[in-house]
């Protein structure tokens, strides 16, 4: 196949772009998890906050990806380095699924279990780390999975603003009107998304509480 030969011929470049793509997705998902999980826990415990927080995350997600990039470009610290900007935008985008699933996961823990734990004399942090989080982890991971898959897709658009990644092949291929170049970016991106979906899904199932 023409495309496969092309990819093999340029495998150095394709690999480099894939790593760049992984970097964008991985870093932003880590940030989103580091921010989103604690926020999700917070609103699960203080339900008064849940509407404003979820609404904000929802609004951010509603903004079309390319538009969000556009909003952030004029900010000089961000605009100076496109990958910084892309990572920030990807992080913001990944927040909603992670916050929402953390919230759902924690609220989904059987209230009798939480009451028994509290009544037994578990501190709030023992309750959180030994009971609530382990029981919610599968649901939380499913949110992370959604975030990763969204990010892989959005990161391909990030190339439009110069952040690199597999999208750069796609845009160059479009300008060159060369399908092989387009596919050299599109195929690895699709594979990446699938692998992430299956991989995280597998971990989710392993961690599901009985």
């Amino acid at each position: 196949m023409n495309v496969v030969r092309f990819i093999l011929q340029n495998r150095g470049e394709v690999w480099e772009s894939t790593l760049q793509h992984l970097w964008l997705v991985g870093l932003s998902t880590m940030f989103a998890t580091a921010i989103g999980v604690p926020l999700g826990i917070l609103i699960a415990h203080r339900t008064r906050l849940n509407k404003p927080v979820l609404a904000t995350a929802n609004i951010i997600q509603t903004i079309p990806g390319l538009a969000l990039f556009g909003f952030l470009l004029p900010v000089s610290w961000l605009g100076a380095r496109a990958d910084r900007l892309a990572i920030l935008a990807l992080t913001l985008y990944a927040l909603l699924p992670i916050i929402r699933n953390t919230y759902t996961g924690i609220r989904g823990v059987d209230p009798a279990v939480v009451e028994a734990g509290r009544g037994m004399g578990l501190t709030e942090s023992q309750l959180l780390f030994q009971v609530e989080l382990p029981l919610a982890v599968s649901v939380i991971l499913s949110g992370v999975r959604v975030a990763v898959v969204i990010s892989v897709g959005l990161a391909t658009i990030a190339a439009a603003i110069g952040a690199g990644g597999l999208g750069e092949f796609i845009f160059r291929g479009l300008a060159m009107v060369d399908n092989r170049v387009i596919l050299a970016g599109a195929i690895p991106a699709a594979i990446l998304a699938l692998v992430a979906d299956i991989g995280v899904g597998w971990i989710e199932r392993r961690l599901q509480p009985r």
Partner: protein
């Protein structure tokens, strides 16, 4: 004010509890003596569960004071307080991701007991609640309702607390299992002499298990009587209860066969 008995393990002094516009408890004065089984009897909404939760400070009184072992709850460290009180609830609340072993051993573990002491204690407690040692490696979802509640009781007893709080612990079980567990609990209590506060709406259960019955209605303590006194009581609420429950109550009061 009545003189406070020196042996009072738990005291309620002029306790009231209010949430938003609803008065849930008012003017509660009650002493629970060390080693007794005090049953809080009442129908839904009578405030009995609320009263129970004031003991281990899952709730705090709006006015008045709750004391455990002579120390006002407001002044004691809430975690230490709760670790010294066993808590058994109707839905049991076993940790589904822990084995029976880890469920029972959780409080000892966070109290820093060495691993082998915990293991020995778990085996001991399983026996006490009538389960074989092979149960230790099972998960809650693999157990029947009755087995789960036995584990729940074992878990509550793990760190050997002086006080045990039980909120309708057998209410979700089938009548045969309930009967079995009531009988076994009675025998257990005779051996262990814990201070137990037991919530129920079932008069038969109350007569069987309680050393005294505290009847509650609409957030107030109506009367506190021994089982025998309760049956002969002329108090309108008490007698209403007796009538509602029909026959066969004497044998329950006498802890005989049901």
């Amino acid at each position: 004010m009545q003189p406070i008995p020196a042996s009072a393990a738990i005291e309620f002094r002029d306790v009231s509890y209010r949430v938003a516009d609803t008065q849930i408890l008012s003017g509660l004065n009650l002493q629970v003596e060390k080693g007794e089984t005090l049953v809080l009897l009442g129908r839904s909404g009578s405030g009995k569960t609320t009263t129970l939760k004031l003991v281990n400070r899952l709730l705090s009184p709006t006015t008045g004071e709750v004391r455990v072992k002579g120390v006002p709850n407001a002044e004691s460290d809430v975690i230490r307080l709760r670790r010294g009180i066993g808590y058994v609830i109707q839905d049991v609340g076993l940790f589904p991701h822990f084995t029976v072993q880890r469920n029972i051993g959780l409080v000892p573990k966070i109290e820093g007991w060495p691993q082998d002491r915990i293991r020995a204690r778990v085996v001991e407690l399983l026996q006490v609640v009538g389960l074989g040692p092979e149960m230790a490696t099972r998960y809650p979802h693999q157990l029947s309702g009755g087995q789960r509640q036995r584990v729940g009781v074992a878990r509550a007893l793990a760190a050997d607390p002086e006080v045990l709080l039980m909120d309708e612990p057998f209410g979700a079980l089938d009548p045969l299992t309930r009967d079995e567990l009531q009988r076994e609990f009675f025998l257990l209590q005779q051996r262990l002499h814990k201070t137990v506060v037991f919530v129920t709406h079932d008069l038969r259960e109350a007569l069987r298990l309680g050393s005294r019955i505290a009847l509650m209605e609409a957030g107030r303590l109506v009367t506190v009587l021994t089982p025998q006194e309760f049956l002969r009581s002329t108090d309108p609420w008490a007698s209403a209860y007796v009538r509602a429950f029909g026959d066969g109550l004497e044998s329950a009061a006498n802890r005989g066969a049901s």
